[in-house]
Assembly symmetry: C2
């Protein structure tokens, strides 16, 4: 990026996307990153408004993420969960005691009429995060999973049924009438943006809901900065989660190439793993190969550097 192109935008879901978002956050000037997060996973549980991907980003970017579990908060306790189970309440979705504070305070403020984007902006400040963190929309968009056994709410599919049902289609209820949160359109129209990164999240359930919000796809196409996607597939497999299983069930060839094709009308560059170099075949956009597996903090930072450097080599 040239010195005027000082801003970086990342589109992200939860765990996998947040890893690269953290890498970007750590290598960039602290206020130059904006993360646009999927809210298609959001749901109501115990009457609380839960935003799994936003919260994973909050916890990850602030260093409050639970690295042993791979989700939730560091130093978490589980007294609430044990007590709710003893009361006969539902315990399939595990809410830690500290995590619960995020949901309770968000729900209280949403009920008082505050938009989600404003609540999250306040939360990230309280968490000491200098990056901007934006929900894709302040309106409810809910991913519905069509399966061979019938339609399922997203968290029912994802958590309760551990992605076991065969997915036949995905639907983003509410997306047709949702508006992008205003800050999303502002940042995508900002001439200082040097790159838009599609994080290595699940394309179907983490990125597609963002793209389904009217106006976001157009804003990405109109954005002068190159759009770069990082493959969530390494060596033909998903690092974590149901991406590969879902591709097979949706009738797609399982692999990094199909993800690139999924984004073909949108991206200027695809970053795939070295392991997939021989199997990728011809793609309609330039491809750069690098190590994309993010195990250590250094891996996250290195991939972030590779992404930024690669983007400097493409133009729109």
């Amino acid at each position: 990026m040239s010195s005027e192109l000082t801003k970086v935008v990342a589109l992200s879901g939860g765990i996998g996307g947040a890893k690269l978002a953290l890498g970007l956050y750590r290598i960039l000037p602290s206020d130059s990153l904006t993360v646009i997060a999927n809210t298609g996973d959001d749901f109501e549980h115990f009457g609380l408004s839960i935003s799994p991907d936003l919260d994973t980003l909050l916890y990850t970017l602030s260093g409050k993420d639970n690295q042993e579990l791979g989700w939730g908060r560091r130093g978490e306790t589980w007294t609430f969960m044990a007590a709710i189970a003893a009361l006969g309440g539902e315990s399939w979705f595990r809410l830690g005691d500290g995590d619960l504070a995020t949901h309770v305070e968000r729900t209280r403020r949403l009920r008082a009429g505050e938009p989600l984007s404003s609540i999250i902006d306040d939360f990230r400040r309280n968490f000491g995060i200098a990056a901007s963190l934006l929900p894709m929309s302040n309106d409810p968009v809910r991913t519905k999973v069509q399966t061979a056994d019938g339609p399922l709410e997203f968290q029912d599919y994802f958590v309760r049924q551990r992605c076991a049902p065969v997915v036949t289609a995905l639907r983003f209820a509410g997306a047709e009438t949702a508006l992008p949160s205003p800050e999303v359109l502002t940042i995508l129209g900002d001439p200082r943006v040097g790159i838009v990164v599609i994080c290595p999240s699940n394309p179907f359930i983490s990125i597609d809901p963002i793209l389904a919000v009217p106006g976001i796809r157009t804003a990405l196409r109109d954005c002068p900065a190159p759009v770069v996607a990082v493959s969530p597939i390494i060596g033909g497999k998903a690092v974590k989660g149901p991406t590969a299983k879902m591709m097979a069930e949706l009738g797609l060839p399982v692999g990094a190439a199909a993800v690139a094709r999924h984004y073909s009308d949108l991206i200027d560059l695809y970053i795939a793993d070295e392991e997939d170099a021989c199997s990728l075949g011809e793609l309609p956009m330039p491809v750069i190969f690098t190590r994309t597996l993010m195990q250590s903090i250094e891996d996250r930072e290195q991939l972030a550097r590779d992404v930024i450097n690669a983007a400097a080599r493409v133009r729109r």
Copy 2:
């Protein structure tokens, strides 16, 4: 009580009342006690429906009460509270992680349309309590504290301002139109009830809200069993809480006698502490003196026995 008079009813607020309720529960056959609890302290906090007196009774009768703190749950953790404070949320009302489960599950079920009495009945079963525990009403009744500085919500007065403001009057908003919970009228009309005990709770903020629910006062008057009140004042002082301070502010003589007079149209017997024997003066009902301070479990059981035995000596 004769062998047919096998049921005992107790009217109770929180901490002090729950001590005698526990004593009664421990000395009586396990299913013979029914506790009618004050819900005038109930309030909404973080969008959660909180019932402090019912919960104190649930925790006390099930042995889950926190004896170090004197309130809340045993083995409690405080991760939620620390996290909510870090998010800039309100932290004046302390909610333990386990306690929170009670509020979250109650709120969820209330929102689904279930009456409070049914939820509490289910909770007490889950907590292994054989006694019946009844909210005075399924309709919201909210104690409002009139003070020299203006009106206050009850928990604002009681917790946030630690009972510091001078009380000029108490009002039970919603009481006029509230109905007693059906089980309350059923038990007060049950011919097997041998005694109704007014626990040593604060008369003005714990017992008066119960009596303010239309129908309960009449049911108590029509009940064939003697009504016995236990003084919350020992040696001219309240054991805990603002009872004595409030009596002075309300222009009453501070002491056990004024409490007896407060209940004079209702009770057949007054049980006061030996310490107040010389200062009590003439009262319009029979009085029995005993040790009423409940420090140990044995104290609770002994006072319960004294109450049951005393009631056997009065008739309506």
